[in-house]
Symmetry: C2
Subunit: 575 residues, 2 copies
């Protein structure tokens, strides 16, 4: 591409309404422009990147055996009523009426449409498994669209849906898709993690999110230093500490702790380590309707945090989790919250694995202004039920037994999901099995935020000068920068020759052929755009027989002999 026939559209000023760096850089690099809240036009530079992501996604989906289809953006309400989501889905579902008053929505996802298609096209187990994908415009009416294309209202998504006659077949395709997703993010060149995810309200046996690691991510991800294990922090299992619990070494004593009610305060006062104390939280238990729910005690190590998701999934615990009102604690346990402890506690007590491993620990004495020290399980307090109650922390052992956990922030760019029969049941998508018996299909669904990947890649890699693209999705692979091309035929000839040579090798080249452009401005644009390689050609260099090369991430430029320039560039460019 010649800059003289291109729209570079870079901006020096950082737009005031852009908060995150990817949004700022996409505007400054002339990749996108805002049309309205959450609606963006992709300019040529942005679209080049988007198309490269799309191509990799498409190739890997096809390699994984998925067939491409294209479903409408506008979907009839009837199907959403069948699945029950017309009512369930919040105001992100933009509901519209056509000129005849019929109700439609702009599709945020296509489970209903594909299920309707497949229940009509497929009726025998022989036609399954089948897997369909599309790369298509989606709409979600976000209440507060932000972060540019990261959380836009209109966006490009790859969504795939698979159909099966058994759970095994679903698992098989799920695994194929898991691997296809890994290849996609590897080929794009991102530092990513497949992360065990919550299956949420849908149930289903398995779900993974794919996160691009970036400081600005909205999700905390725990992953192993030594294995592929990764999970949302909320879901990562906190395994029991290794080895046996230490033996008691001192007697339990009641100590006076006047006015000390929080873990830090008590431990400061007693000059102790919070990791050797426990905290006791009172929550509501399950009960049949109309009854007063019983109280339950949850006991965690003083330095650990309760994981609500884990707690509310436990038998006997009310879901969603509810803390007991102070009045009931005062009335039934006869003390205030800051002095609670498991010793002598008469309600059911669930102890976290790490807390259960302590010896000689500190806890509240269930009497205001008093704590116990030197408490030991079984000797001083019963230990009936041990569960995983807490959030993991950096340094915890990995649940798969390999390495320890680290916590980093991630941006979700993909999600794969075993839906089971949620939609096929609601919409009566059945097939005849080998015995001619009617059964519900099983479904999987697999999403990738194609436009979001573009922003996530920038969040992951940029510097003060601009974007650092992974080579596979850079808008151009190399820029040729002539110095005073309009004054020097020699410079022009050399640049034109190099341009044609590299293009003939299938390389995406940008020739900065705008006459009178200043060198500094051109180099700044190239860095802002994140073009991985650039060559500067000028009369002074040509006299010495050299051209100047610099990789986008290099700290210094380097001269190469003109005689070797083409060979060097072909080696440096990742093709």
């Amino acid at each position: 591409m010649r800059a003289s026939r291109y729209l570079i559209a870079t901006q020096k000023e950082t737009p005031s309404d852009a908060v995150v760096i990817s949004h700022q850089l996409m505007l400054r690099a002339g990749m996108i422009r805002r049309l309205a809240s959450g609606l963006y036009t992709w300019l040529p530079t942005g679209l080049r990147v988007l198309r490269k992501v799309e191509r990799i996604v498409r190739e890997e989906m096809e390699r994984a055996g998925a067939l491409e289809v294209l479903m409408p953006v506008v979907q009839p309400a009837e199907l959403w009523e069948e699945s029950g989501r017309w009512q369930q889905y919040g105001p992100e579902l933009l509901r519209i009426r056509d000129r005849h008053g019929n109700a439609f929505c702009l599709g945020p996802t296509h489970e209903e449409v594909i299920t309707d298609l497949i229940r009509n096209e497929v009726n025998s187990y022989k036609q399954l498994p089948a897997n369909f994908f599309q790369i298509q415009t989606k709409f979600r009416d976000e209440i507060r669209p932000r972060f540019g294309v990261m959380r836009a209202r209109e966006f490009t998504m790859k969504d795939a849906y698979s159909f099966h006659d058994s759970a095994d077949s679903l698992q098989e395709t799920y695994d194929v898709m898991y691997n296809a997703y890994c290849r996609i993010f590897e080929r794009i060149g991102l530092d990513y993690r497949p992360v065990l995810a919550d299956t949420g309200a849908i149930g289903g046996s398995s779900s993974h999110e794919f996160h691009v690691l970036a400081q600005s991510g909205e999700d905390d991800i725990a992953f192993s230093t030594d294995s592929r294990y990764a999970a949302n922090v909320e879901l990562a299992e906190a395994v029991a500490p290794g080895g046996a619990r230490p033996e008691p070494s001192c007697e339990m004593q009641e100590v006076y702790t006047p006015g000390q009610k929080s873990i830090p305060a008590v431990n400061d006062f007693l000059k102790a380590d919070p990791a050797h104390s426990v905290k006791t939280l009172i929550v509501l238990g399950e009960c049949t309707q109309g009854e007063t729910p019983p109280l339950l005690a949850l006991v965690l190590r003083g330095d650990h945090d309760l994981n609500t998701l884990k707690a509310e999934k436990l038998a006997g615990v009310a879901s969603p989790l509810q803390f007991a009102p102070e009045s009931r604690i005062a009335e039934e346990l006869h003390c205030t919250i800051g002095s609670l402890g498991p010793v002598g506690m008469e309600i059911e007590t669930i102890v976290d694995r790490s807390a259960a491993h302590l010896a000689d620990f500190i806890c509240g004495a269930n009497r205001d202004d008093y704590h116990y020290t030197g408490v030991n399980w079984n000797r001083d307090v019963k230990l009936d039920r041990i569960e995983d109650l807490r959030n993991i922390v950096t340094g915890d052992p990995s649940p798969d037994g390999r390495g320890t956990l680290e916590v980093r922030r991630g941006i979700e760019v993909g999600h794969i999901f075993q839906l089971g029969d949620k939609y096929s049941r609601a919409m009566n998508a059945t097939l005849l099995d080998e015995n001619g018996k009617e059964q519900l299909m099983s479904m999987g669904c697999y999403g990738i935020g194609v436009s979001r990947i573009v922003a996530a890649a920038i969040e992951q890699k940029h510097d003060s000068a601009g974007i650092l693209w992974p080579e596979a999705i850079a808008p151009f692979q190399l820029a040729i920068v002539p110095i005073n091309m309009h004054k020097s035929d020699r410079v022009r000839d050399k640049c034109e020759h190099l341009y044609e040579f590299l293009r003939s090798r299938g390389i995406d080249v940008l020739l900065m052929d705008e006459s009178k452009a200043r060198l500094g401005a051109m180099l700044a644009d190239i860095e802002l755009l994140g073009i991985p390689h650039r060559v500067v050609i000028g009369d002074r260099g040509l006299e010495k027989g050299v051209a100047e090369y610099k990789g986008r991430a290099d700290s210094e430029a380097q001269d190469f002999a003109l005689s070797q320039l083409e060979t060097v560039l072909l080696e440096k460019i990742d093709r």
Copy 2:
């Protein structure tokens, strides 16, 4: 592609709701499925064709120097209010409101969005000309969607918009786009015509439609047998007959024609040729408001039809054209409509070029039940004003002087348009010219109905067995059909080998590898799908050392020696 991993989804029955052949065949060949009125899902076979059309369009747009962008489907009302189209556009513009109550529309076209973008990005003549295109989902809320994807509500369109600092620059890009469009339709392999079109209400100096010729087309197109001239029948110029008007050869006579009021009736009665008679139509002339419009007479040959568009563009004629009420004709001209004629007519009379060429003709005598015969211009009746008033008919000379005109039906698949400053004026899109003076930009716009091309290609070429694709957009180029593959290793090996060989040469092959599929059913599917080439491989042929080849349009299959099969196929397939 292997049929065993593909969704062929053919249907034997012709769907009852499909009227036109392309709609029927697209449903039967498993290309599309209806989701709701005017909304279609593209199945794998349909999408393969759509993508091939898209690719050709994209390549030629890029070759023509246009830059690809991607604008949102959802557009804010404000911009349409600025251009005035929020009010002007009919109910085809689907107006919606988001969760905050803000007004938007689903874009049927993107003049407003691109003009808004360019007025912000471009401010100097040095940045122009610029030309941007997108291939994108459009929505038009048709009152009665029909003919499948031919007139769907949601469809894929390529739209391009160019910006200029002068009319010359606009004309230059217009010509480039004209040629790009010709290359696109040639590469796709369609019989098409670029057709002079009406610039309608927008004005502008030039507009061409691109029509695919097909009997089922909705538009009548006149085109020359011997040149590239083509125009909508409504716009084609009817040139004056060659040579001088014949000399009068008989006297004018008033003849009694009791009750004969129409041209056929009068000519039957007088045993004359309508081509030697004239008809006289009374219309309203222009007038200043409040005045009674004067009457005007339009005189045409008896066998010709008035062209309303041409008439209402003439000076002195009311636009839109209005016929005079019978009461005024009776009152002012003293006769009824069936007896009107130019002889002695006291109101202004405009004579069509062909009528003006007649001698010894018949016309009404302005007296009920009487006509004149042997009438001659200038001798019996004055001839002040001659104009082109009529629709052309087959056999008319071509306006460019080369060949004669034929009329065929066409399907509009493209439209290019010089918009001038319609949008830049309304939306204040200005630039600074060479002298630093602010001026309005000039614009061109260029559309192609990408999804409509798919249907139009089928309308143009099909037979009783199914579709005949142009090779460039066929879903597959070749099908390999094994006979009893599941029983014969030899057949399987030969088919697999041929499949891999052709794929390695970049050919789109469909291997019919579904075990137990019947040969007749497979061949019927291949013909229905319109795959241009197919090879049948069976044990009996292999024993004789041959395979059977048939081109989709061939009447007979042909055996080829296995030793030459690959060479023969590579020759036959258009690559």
